[in-house]
């Protein structure tokens, strides 16, 4: 039996979404095949990694990662610029965590100012995320969207509980949108439908399937992503065809493996390497399942995954 390359025929493809403006705008998605199988379908864009920064100093991040940004993290604009200029970030992801009522409870106006400051410091595309408090995010993201008007940002996250206001804000100022549901194929589909029913273009959505860290449920995210991608490609289900984003850093840098000192866990090796490896391995898992955009924290983990991406596409 002679070997014939066993190819799949796909009926659909992933939407291509452009984020940012000017020469450094970035395109994600657009693939017409399962992850990295260029022998049977186009992979027009490489997956992109965005560096995560936040509006307030990252006091809740583990020491190993706080350390990296200690000279810049008190000022989001400086922090963003550092990631862009020194670390070569292709994209910045600003999390407005300080607006959470249980955190600093910063106002929507404060958030808008931060967004403006960050935008004027960088020319790579910006992702703007709320604090994941559905109620507060509705106000915060509205001001943030206005402040970033014309910059073609990626706004998130629209969830079942607050999608109406978030979608309206993103639509009014011409941004792209992250739609996040709770680790479930049908919920992801349903949310995309609800969003498009509001008149938001389906090719401006990026799906967040909800991430989970290596060792803490990554397999659930992995399979949900594989199923979403299969639905887009094999069944040509256009409600499942947005590119996918994974919020890697925030799930990784709170698990024990990225924090416990070697003295407490001698069988685990040095915490610095372990944390970097944990973030990179989690990201690699998502790439294998179809990720188009990764939000990450540690420069060394980013560098590792970028190397892989460059060899994969």
């Amino acid at each position: 039996m002679a070997f014939v390359v066993p190819k799949e025929t796909y009926n659909g493809k992933v939407y291509e979404v452009e984020i940012g403006t000017g020469p450094r705008a970035v395109k994600i998605g657009g693939e017409a095949t399962l992850p990295f199988l260029a022998f049977e379908g186009a992979v027009p864009n490489k997956p992109v990694i965005a560096y995560e920064i936040q509006d307030v100093p990252p006091e809740d991040w583990p020491q190993t990662i706080q350390e990296v940004y200690k000279d810049v993290s008190s000022d989001p604009a400086k922090w963003a610029k550092y990631c862009q200029d020194e670390l070569g970030a292709q994209m910045i992801a600003l999390r407005l965590i300080g607006t959470h009522p249980d955190r600093q409870n910063r106002s929507a106006e404060d958030a808008a100012k931060t967004v403006k400051d960050v935008l004027s410091a960088i020319d790579v595309p910006l992702i703007i995320m709320g604090s994941n408090n559905a109620e507060k995010d509705a106000q915060v993201l509205k001001s943030a969207c206005d402040a970033a008007s014309g910059k073609n940002c990626l706004i998130g996250k629209a969830q079942e509980a607050n999608y109406k206001t978030v979608v309206a804000s993103a639509m009014a100022s011409g941004h792209k949108l992250i739609a996040m549901s709770d680790l479930d194929v049908n919920l992801a589909k349903q949310l995309n439908i609800l969003i498009t029913q509001m008149g938001f273009d389906k090719d401006k959505i990026v799906t967040d399937p909800m991430s989970s860290a290596l060792g803490y449920g990554i397999e659930y995210t992995y399979s949900v992503m594989e199923r979403i991608r299969s639905a887009a490609l094999f069944q040509n289900d256009q409600t499942m065809a947005p590119p996918m984003v994974n919020d890697v850093g925030m799930y990784v840098w709170k698990v024990k493996e990225t924090m416990a000192p070697e003295a407490d866990q001698p069988a685990w090796g040095p915490v610095a390497d372990r944390g970097i490896g944990w973030e990179a391995t989690t990201a690699m898992g998502f790439l294998m399942a179809g990720s188009d955009l990764l939000i990450m924290r540690h420069p060394k983990a980013v560098e590792t995954v970028r190397k892989m991406i460059d060899e994969l596409v």
Binding site: M1, V5, E226
Partner: protein, 447 residues
């Protein structure tokens, strides 16, 4: 590959003689397809039919065992391309590559022997050592293999050499240990097969590209040798994904026997982080043996977790049984904590309670294997259910106090729980389990 009744029927005598106990050949074929009958019930089946159906009932990807005894590693026998279709069957093995020119062969082998880590109640480790004949010298190779095998007696051994003389020198030390010889190429296949047969070894077959590879395995299997592992020559992530996917598809979807074998992948890189990332690709995308050049603890921990995660059953979360567990030498006034029966949750919480060195009672409630928040959101970890469980568990007769510590993430339950458990004090614990040691120490210090 599963055959349909109609496909099987084509190979039967079609006489409807009923000797098999079925009214027609077709009816019998249907039973065969459903695996409710075996072909030997038909006395008139041809040799051709036996060969055809015999081959069809073999798993599409052959199982291969490396090593002997209860620590032997079995790989292969995979049945799907995506884990959401069905559980991946045999977790891939990890191997540490040791060169016979290395100065620290014993230390490296020892690292393999000591690689065991416990995660979520499972004891996991690097199972294999791969000794490479980098020196080109037969005596040196044999020596290295002997050293490595005695320093890591439970590890399976891969002999990385294409030299007949070197392998002949090394193999006697591995008698009865089912090593994997890596291996065979188009040039030396006959010698290698003879060596593998004579020594009870399996054989990795290497060729560049799947055309050449399948031609070579076809030739080898035609001679009757089938304990094969495939090395497609892929060393870069793109080639790995493409070739391994094609191998798995060819075996599972096209029924291509020549590629129906487990894959060995050399995920070797001088940068340890890149090596870990490369190995993640191999683990996710169908490699059955992943060879590494370094097994630093931090690196192995991540890879072992990834393998464990991807090889779990997607339908059934790992669970532990409902019970009130005694942690340490808990007395009647030791603190009582409650959590859910998702393995991951249980083992994380148990680990932290143990870390605290505060003897405690840990009530594990059946929630169909869901985590705390998932169970709460699914209505399986509610105040009413927790109260009922506490009352029925008999824990009240084992402890002398009435205080229950609940997970911080379900702090909202505390009011309702106090209503439903009259006389009990509900204490909200920390959200993340890693804050438990401080929390428990504080508590006992205060008491």
């Amino acid at each position: 590959m599963a055959l349909s009744g109609v496909e099987i029927f084509k190979h039967l005598p079609k006489t409807n003689c009923k000797k098999c106990g079925h009214p027609t050949c077709l009816a019998f074929a249907m039973k065969l397809a459903a695996k409710q009958a075996t072909l030997d019930a038909c006395p008139d089946a041809s040799e051709e039919a036996k060969a055809f159906l015999g081959a069809a009932s073999e798993p599409p990807i052959k199982g291969i065992t490396i090593g002997a005894g209860d620590k032997a590693l079995k790989v292969g026998e995979e049945t799907v391309l995506f884990r959401h279709e069905k559980k991946f069957v045999n977790p891939c093995g990890f191997a540490l590559l040791i060169k016979d020119t290395d100065a620290d062969i014993e230390a490296k082998a020892k690292a393999v022997a000591d690689s065991e880590i416990e995660r979520v109640g499972q004891k996991l480790r690097v199972e294999l050592i791969a000794v490479e004949n980098a020196s080109g010298d037969a005596g040196k190779f044999a020596d290295a293999v002997k050293k490595a095998a005695s320093a890591a007696p439970n590890a399976g051994v891969i002999l990385v050499s294409s030299s007949k003389a070197a392998l002949e020198a090394a193999l006697p030390a591995l008698a009865g240990k089912k090593p994997l010889i890596d291996g065979a190429t188009a040039e030396n296949a006959d010698d290698m097969v003879a060596l593998a047969k004579a020594n009870g070894a399996s054989l990795a077959v290497r060729a560049d590209g799947l055309d050449a590879l399948s031609a070579l395995t076809e030739k080898i299997t035609a001679g009757g040798f089938k304990d094969i592992v495939l090395d497609s020559g892929a060393r870069k992530p793109k080639d790995m994904i493409e070739q391994y996917t094609q191998i798995r598809r060819a075996a599972l979807k096209k029924g291509m026997k020549a590629l129906g074998f487990p894959i060995i992948s050399f995920a070797v890189n001088s940068d340890p982080f890149v090596e870990q990332a490369l190995a993640s690709v191999a683990v996710a995308k169908y490699a059955s043996v992943v060879v590494l050049s370094d097994i630093s603890k931090w690196k192995t921990l991540g890879l072992i977790a990834l393998r464990q995660n991807l090889y779990t059953d997607p339908q059934v979360p790992m669970q532990v049984s409902q019970n009130v567990y005694k942690v340490g030498d808990a007395s009647a006034n030791a603190p009582l904590l409650i959590t859910t029966n998702f393995s991951l949750t249980y083992f994380i919480v148990l680990g932290e309670v143990e870390n605290s060195k505060v003897p405690s009672w840990l009530a594990v409630m059946e929630t169909e294997g869901l985590s705390v928040l998932t169970a709460w959101a699914a209505g399986k970890f509610t105040a009413a259910k927790i109260a009922q469980y506490i009352q029925e568990s008999g824990v009240e007769s084992r402890i002398s106090h009435k205080e229950l510590i609940i997970p911080g993430y379900v702090a909202v339950l505390s009011g309702a729980l106090e209503d439903k458990l009259p006389g009990w004090k509900i204490t909200v614990g920390p959200r993340e389990a890693n804050a438990l040691p401080a929390f428990l120490k504080n508590k006992t210090a205060a008491a």
